[in-house]
C-alpha cells in the first residue's frame, strides 16, 4: 500500500509544478474581486435610479460577490486541468504505475486541489467582500450584520465545491477539452438562463451552482425551497455524485 502522505506530497509537487495552477487561481481571484468591485461601484452610482422595491431588497454582501459567475469559470478550468491534464498528456499511465491504488491516487489529487481551491476561495471571498463594501459607501454592510459572515464564508465554500465538481466531471469524462466544452457553457449560460425561465426554474434551482449560490445571499430573496445551508448541501451532493462517478470510471476503465 502506498503511503498516503507520500502520495499527497507527490500530488502537491504535481500541482505546483505546472503553470496553469497559478494562472487559473490568480485569474479566479482577480476576476471575482474586480467584477464584484465594479458592479458595487455601478450600484452606488445608479442608486437614485433604482426602483424602491429593489432598494428595499438590497443585499450589500451578495452584490460584492457579483463577479463570482465569471470568476468560477477560472476555478472550473483549474479543476479540469488538474485531473484532465493527466489524461491529455498520458501522464496518467506514469501516475498509475507509481500508485496503482487508483482510489488513493484520485483522493490525494482531489484533496490537494481542494485545499488550494479552499484557500483561494476564502481569500477571494473576503477580499471581494471588503472591496465591494468599500465601493458601496453608505450602503455597505459589515460582517457583524445578520447572515453576512455566513455569506462571505459560504462564497469561499462555493468556490471550493465548484472546483471539486469540475474535478469529478473530468474524472468521468477523462478529457479536458470535453469537460471544458460541457462545464463552461453550462455554468456561464445554460444554468442561469434556465433559472430565469419560469417553468424551467423549478428544475434549474437544483443545479449545483443555483443551489450553492443561495449561501451568498445575506438577505433572503426569491422562493427557493431550501435555505442557505440546504442549498450548499444540494451542491455538495452533486459534488459527491460527480466524484463517485469519477472514481468508478477510474477504477473500471483501462488507463
Amino acid at each position: 500500500m502506498a503511503s498516503a502522505t507520500a502520495v499527497l506530497q507527490s500530488e502537491w509537487t504535481k500541482v505546483r509544478s505546472v503553470r496553469s495552477t497559478v494562472w487559473t487561481l490568480v485569474t479566479a481571484f482577480a476576476v471575482t474581486v474586480a467584477v464584484g468591485g465594479g458592479i458595487s461601484a455601478l450600484v452606488t452610482a445608479t442608486w437614485g435610479d433604482a426602483p424602491p422595491a429593489d432598494r428595499a431588497m438590497f443585499d450589500a454582501a451578495q452584490t460584492s460577490f457579483s463577479g463570482m459567475f465569471l470568476g468560477q469559470l477560472a476555478l472550473i478550468v483549474f479543476g479540469v486541468l488538474v485531473i484532465g491534464g493527466e489524461y491529455s498528456t498520458g501522464m496518467i499511465r506514469s501516475s498509475l504505475a507509481a500508485v496503482p491504488q487508483r482510489g488513493v491516487l484520485l483522493a490525494a489529487k482531489v484533496a490537494v486541489a481542494t485545499a488550494l481551491a479552499l484557500v483561494t476561495g476564502m481569500v477571494t471571498s473576503f477580499t471581494a467582500f471588503f472591496v465591494g463594501q468599500a465601493f458601496l459607501g453608505q450602503r455597505a454592510t459589515t460582517l457583524a450584520e445578520e447572515g453576512v459572515l455566513r455569506a462571505v464564508f459560504g462564497a469561499g465554500l462555493y468556490m471550493t465545491l465548484i472546483t471539486m465538481f469540475a474535478m469529478g466531471v473530468t474524472a468521468m469524462l477523462r478529457s479536458p477539452m470535453l469537460s471544458l466544452g460541457i462545464l463552461m457553457p453550462f455554468f456561464f449560460l445554460v444554468s442561469s438562463i434556465l433559472a430565469a425561465v419560469p417553468k424551467a426554474k423549478e428544475v434549474a434551482q437544483y443545479f449545483p451552482d443555483q443551489a450553492g449560490a443561495r449561501i451568498m445571499q445575506a438577505v433572503p430573496m426569491g422562493d427557493a425551497p431550501y435555505g442557505p445551508w440546504g442549498g450548499l448541501g444540494i451542491m455538495a451532493l452533486w459534488v459527491v455524485a460527480a466524484l463517485a462517478g469519477g472514481y468508478l470510471v477510474l477504477k473500471k476503465r483501462d488507463a
Binding site: 500500500m1 502506498a2 509544478s17 501522464m91
Partner: protein
C-alpha cells in the same frame, strides 16, 4: 521474475492478447518480439495493471502489481515516452514520481545524470525531442532502482549513439542480476541485445526460446543453384547423397547439405550448365518474418513466400497456422 498465466485481452471483438503463458527470468535480457499490432504493448500495460486482463494473471515476484508496496522499487517501466506532462520540468516530473514511492530526492539527479539529461533538468519536457523524451522515460524506469525493468521499444527515436547506449544499459542491468524485458519489432536489434526470446503474433505465443538456440536453428545456410536442367541436377545430387533440394519461388534449387564447391564439381562431372551457384545464409530477420508470416496483422503487399514453421517455436495453437504453408512447401519439394 515476471510470470504470465493465460493472459488474455479482448477489445470488443478483437483478441489483442490470446492466452499468453510465459515467464521472464532474472539475469538475462529477454526480448519480446512481434510484428506491429501483435499485442506487445497491450501485454506490457497489463503487466503494470494499467489495462485489466479479460482473463489470466500477471505476477511480479509472486505478487499482483497492485499488491506491490511502492511498485517503482520493484519494477520500472518505459511504456511510451509520451506518458509525461509536457508542462512540467524533467526534474519535477521525476520528483513527483519519486515522492509517491518514497524514493530519496537525490535519486532524481542521479538518474538524470545516468540518462544524460542533467543539462535540461530544469526545462519543461514538452519541448524535448523524441530521443530526449525517451531518455526521460528511461530515467523514470530507473528511479526506484528496481530489480525488474521493462522497456517498450526503447530505441524508438534514439540516434545511433543513443541506441548503443541503451543496448549496453540493458546488458549491464541484466548482468547485475536484474530482470530485463524489452520489446521490439526488429529481430536484428534483438539479436544484438537479447539472451532469451519470446515471439508473439496476433496475441499468440509463437516462440519462447534462448537466443542461441534460435540462431543455431534459424540461421540456415544453403546453396542456391539455377540451371536449365533442374531434373538432371536433382538426379546428380541424389546420387551424391544430398537430400532432395527445395525449390525457391523463381525455380532455383536450394541445397542445404552439400558445399558449393562439391556441387560445382558434380555439375562439371555431369556436363550440366549452371546459371547461378551461390552460398546463402538466411538472416534472423527472415526467420522471424517466416515465423510470424501467418500472423502478421498489417501486411504490405504479398505474404512472405514459402512460410515454414520455425524450429524452437511453441507447439500448439499457432503451429496449425503454419500447417498450410508447410504442406505447400512439401509439395514444392516434390514437384
Amino acid at each position: 521474475m515476471i510470470e504470465l498465466e493465460g493472459l488474455t485481452k479482448r477489445y470488443g471483438d478483437k483478441l489483442a492478447v490470446d492466452n499468453l503463458t510465459f515467464s521472464v527470468r532474472p539475469g538475462v535480457v529477454t526480448g519480446f518480439l512481434g510484428p506491429n499490432g501483435a499485442g506487445k504493448s497491450t501485454t506490457m500495460r497489463m503487466m503494470l495493471d494499467l489495462d485489466r486482463p479479460t482473463a489470466g494473471s500477471v505476477r511480479i515476484d509472486g505478487k499482483h502489481y497492485r499488491q506491490l508496496d511502492e511498485p517503482l522499487k520493484h519494477i520500472g517501466a518505459l511504456l511510451d515516452a509520451k506518458a509525461v506532462h509536457g508542462g512540467r520540468t524533467a526534474h519535477n516530473h521525476l520528483l513527483c514520481l519519486a515522492q509517491s514511492n518514497r524514493i530519496p530526492r537525490a535519486r532524481v539527479d542521479e538518474v538524470l545524470e545516468t540518462v544524460g539529461l542533467t543539462a535540461v533538468a530544469k526545462k519543461r519536457s514538452g519541448g524535448f525531442s523524441l530521443g530526449m523524451g525517451q531518455r526521460l522515460g528511461i530515467a523514470a524506469a530507473l528511479l526506484g532502482d528496481p530489480r525488474i525493468l521493462m522497456f517498450d521499444e526503447p530505441v524508438n527515436g534514439l540516434d545511433p549513439e543513443g541506441i548503443h547506449w541503451i543496448r549496453n544499459l540493458m546488458k549491464d542491468l541484466a548482468a547485475q542480476g536484474r530482470t530485463v524485458f524489452v520489446s521490439s519489432h526488429l529481430m536484428s536489434e534483438m539479436a544484438l541485445t537479447a539472451d532469451h526470446l519470446i515471439v508473439i503474433g496476433r496475441g499468440k505465443l509463437l516462440a519462447d526460446t534462448s537466443m542461441a538456440d534460435f540462431i543455431a536453428v534459424n540461421s540456415r545456410s544453403f546453396v542456391r543453384i539455377r540451371t536449365p536442367e533442374p531434373e538432371r541436377l536433382r538426379d546428380a545430387l541424389a546420387k551424391a547423397g544430398a537430400s532432395a533440394p527445395a525449390t525457391a519461388a523463381d525455380g532455383a534449387l536450394e541445397v542445404e547439405d552439400l558445399p558449393a564447391e562439391r556441387i560445382g564439381e558434380l555439375a562439371a562431372e555431369h556436363g550440366l550448365v549452371l546459371h547461378e551457384l551461390s552460398p546463402q545464409r538466411a538472416s534472423l530477420e527472415e526467420a522471424f518474418m517466416r515465423m510470424t508470416a501467418a500472423s502478421v496483422e498489417y501486411q504490405a503487399g504479398a505474404p512472405v513466400p514459402g512460410a515454414v514453421p520455425v524450429p524452437g517455436a511453441v507447439p500448439g495453437g499457432a503451429v496449425q497456422q503454419w500447417g498450410g504453408s508447410w504442406e505447400q512447401r512439401k509439395q514444392g519439394k516434390e514437384s
